[in-house]
């Protein structure tokens, strides 16, 4: 279990406990947090679960795969700390993780 803070583009914060083994995307979707659409359910096929990972967490959230990089490259409003949240597995190490959401997922 890790406590994760999801911050919507308008600043609304959602703090939830996410089970280890789920992805950061699943943590948002299963808690009905708006702002992460995740149309493909985690298949790395749609880039609608885009988040910005707080710099302090960049190492702990791991490297993105070539497929993820490639999808992100064509998403909107991409920043150096952009990730697809379906590709970040929740571990105990991520206790306290903060992710922010872009204005839209298209």
């Amino acid at each position: 279990m890790a406590k994760i803070t999801y911050i919507e583009h308008d600043g609304t914060e959602h703090v939830v406990d996410v089970k280890t083994g789920l992805t950061v995307m699943e943590g948002a979707v299963k808690n009905n947090i708006p702002g992460i659409d995740a149309d493909c359910g985690g298949a790395c096929a749609c880039a609608t679960c885009h988040v910005y990972v707080d710099d302090a967490w960049k190492d702990k959230t791991g490297e993105s795969s070539a497929m993820e990089e490639s999808m992100l490259d064509f998403a909107e409003n991409v920043e150096p700390n952009s990730r697809l949240s379906c590709q970040i597995k929740v571990t105990d190490e991520l206790e306290g993780l903060i992710v922010r959401m872009p204005e839209s997922q298209h």
């Binding site: 979707v29 009905n32 493909c40 096929a45 497929m67 490639s70 999808m71 064509f74």
Partner: protein, 409 residues
């Protein structure tokens, strides 16, 4: 006119119905929501059933759209194991299979589609499977494994995904397809050939141009699939994936407009203003192609759930989308955007031999659809071009030395 306190009854607890319920709450709907599903499970994702789930890489928890407690926490009255049998529009009353009645202010039909059955002798044998539900997938999982012989009737996406998962689990797999090529209804020839080659490399056997005339069995269990040329393909189980038909009878019976699916407008509203239809059951307009059709895909279910939830809660309609879908087989990711309506030219970008290429279908100099294999840039940029209808330079499109960003620029 929206009424946030209205009683919304949703018939069908699949991807579309489950998403509509959750979005209604997210959009501020305060009135009662009743979600009726004919399966024992709360809404779950179906795509992994033929892939990760079949291979044991996903469990029931990870399949679920929301945890079960979500529904109670959000005052969504989820009722599994039942279905609507009658709809009385004048009184706004739905009768359920168990005899209970529900009065609605707003109704959402999300009844989905069901697998088409082959009308041939032997179709009642045990071991003949389809793949629509988690229960179907459970039965299939039990039927595949090392040394087991699996016949797959139908070389569409479901059939091919099952074939790939079957091989991964060590089963012998024969795919029986009526047409001369795979994915005949949905993909172009180069893609059909590519997929056949990949599956053959992984040991799948194909019977092309083969009509199934029946199933034979012993002790009530299937042992083979008989073909029109008289041969029998021996098997321990067979999966039938030959398409689906919309569950639109409830709507048709009460006089709603239907056309192989329930006819809806851009808000997902049917010919009755109190009734919406979303997902596989809906026959919907698609402005970028200036036509109406029915789609069976998760992105479509989500989009229409958004349309209906927005209309019901008085939010502006979501911006028009480009339909898309995906399929995973072995280490291949296929992403498709758009539909090749009225296409007059097919352009290949990249070399299929590299396992990384895209097929663009054009009408004049506009892209109608793209099928991208392990090629996210082509998919993402192609999807954008389909949406904005911008003319494209064909010379640049087929030139791999020109990046997709430059093609779009």
């Amino acid at each position: 006119m929206s009424d946030l306190g209205a009683h919304v009854v949703i018939l069908g607890a699949g991807h579309a119905g489950g998403t509509a319920a959750a979005l209604l709450r997210q959009y501020g709907h305060t009135g009662p929501i009743t979600l009726i599903g004919d399966e024992p499970l709360a809404p779950y994702q179906r795509p992994p059933l033929s892939k990760a789930w079949l291979k044991g890489e996903a469990d029931a928890d990870s399949l679920a759209l929301k945890p079960l407690e979500f529904y109670a926490e959000h005052q969504i009255d989820f009722r599994p194991n039942t279905r609507a049998v009658k709809l009385a529009r004048a009184d706004k009353v739905v009768t359920l299979a168990d005899g209970q009645t529900l009065t609605y202010d707003v109704l959402i039909l999300a009844t989905g589609a069901r697998a088409i059955k082959l009308p041939v002798p032997g179709a009642e044998l045990a071991g003949l499977l389809e793949l629509r539900t988690a229960a179907d997938a459970e039965a299939l999982k039990a039927a595949v494994g090392p040394g087991k012989r699996l016949a797959v009737v139908g070389g569409g996406y479901i059939g091919l995904e099952v074939a790939a998962s079957g091989r991964a689990l060590g089963a012998e797999v024969v795919v029986i397809e009526r047409e001369q090529r795979l994915l005949a209804r949905v993909a172009c020839e180069s893609l059909s050939d590519f997929f056949r080659g990949v599956h053959e490399t992984h040991g799948v056997i194909f019977e092309m141009g083969a009509s199934v005339t029946g199933f034979v069995g012993e002790d009530g269990h299937v042992t083979g699939v008989t073909l029109a040329d008289g041969r029998t393909v021996p098997c321990d189980a067979a999966v039938i994936g030959v398409g689906a038909t919309p569950n639109d009878e409830l709507a048709a019976d009460c006089g709603l407009d239907t056309a192989r699916g329930v006819v809806v407008d851009l808000e997902a509203r049917t010919s009755d203003p109190s009734i919406f239809a979303i997902g596989d059951v809906a026959h919907r307009p698609m402005p970028i192609y200036d036509r109406m059709f029915r789609m069976e895909s998760v992105p479509n279910a989500l989009e229409q759930a958004k349309q209906a939830a927005s209309a019901i809660t008085g939010r502006p309609a979501p911006a028009g989308e480009v339909p898309w879908q995906w399929s995973d087989q072995y280490d291949l990711k296929l992403q498709i955007a758009g539909y090749a309506f009225d296409a007059d030219e097919v352009l290949l970008r990249g070399d299929p031999a590299t396992g990384k290429f895209a097929v663009f279908h054009l009408k004049g100099d506009q892209i109608q659809s793209v099928e991208a294999i392990n090629s996210p840039p082509e998919f993402m940029m192609g999807k954008q071009l389909i949406g904005n209808r911008k003319p494209v330079s064909k010379a640049k499109l087929v030139d791999l030395s020109v990046s997709m960003k430059e093609v779009v620029a």
